[in-house]
Symmetry: C2
DNA sequence: TCCGCTATTCAGTGTTACTATGTACCGGTA
DNA sequence: TACCGGTACATAGTAACACTGAATAGCGGA
């Protein structure tokens, strides 16, 4: 991944993680692995953990410690009602931006 | 506009400005006004000027001073060959991100 | 015992957009 | 002449966020 992607992820990575959590609860290491599998190859643990702490402090997710067979206990995050509201707002913002960008891309090719 | 949009613009605003310049040359004040008209209501001059200086220093645009009837001389920016390459890369990055987000949005609604 | 994988944490850095303010040029008007 | 509003650019300071790099810790297998 390049610098452009790094900058573009600012403001969208958070929404992506919340969207992942809206499908089903997950923990940091797992979320990171999933993102990397989907092509975001240099999203690293540190980034996701910091993000999870932020959304937790803002009250968008609930946390539960679950023991793991393979290592230290996992912190499993669940999207709560406030998080769902915030996620909806995220999609609205994203859609607005995506529409304008589509328009720009289209204009450019004429 | 909210905080979400502010964060999302990091990494996309630059591409948007370059896309505007790829259609036709323009100057800072004009670009700002156009963005604001299109709904990016709190993009301010200072932001765009700083961005234009950055892309100029990276050699993505050419600059020409043009006298104005209504005020101080305008700095008219034109996208050059290197800028076009960079813009193509921007669109590739954007498309990749947009596809994954569409997928996430879709998954979420099942 | 040591290594590799799982899993979390944290201090430090760089980039970017916004805030707030200042400078400067011009035309119109009182 | 003096002032004001609109045009146009510049810049120091701040906040937010993703990445770097390193540390800690638990578990199983060679």
């Amino acid at each position: 991944m390049g610098k452009q992607m790094t900058e573009m992820l600012k403001g969208t990575l958070e929404g992506m993680v919340l969207a992942i959590l809206s499908v089903q609860p997950a923990y940091g290491y797992e979320i990171t692995a999933r993102l990397r599998e989907q092509g975001f190859s240099d999203v690293v643990e540190g980034t996701v953990y910091a993000l999870l702490i932020r959304v937790e402090q803002r009250g968008l997710v609930d946390v539960e410690k679950v023991p793991s067979e393979k290592g230290p206990p996992r912190k499993v995050y669940t999207l709560n009602a406030q998080g769902r509201e915030y996620l909806e707002e995220f999609w609205r913002t994203w859609s607005f931006l995506a529409e304008r960008l589509e328009q720009l891309h289209h204009d450019e090719e004429e």
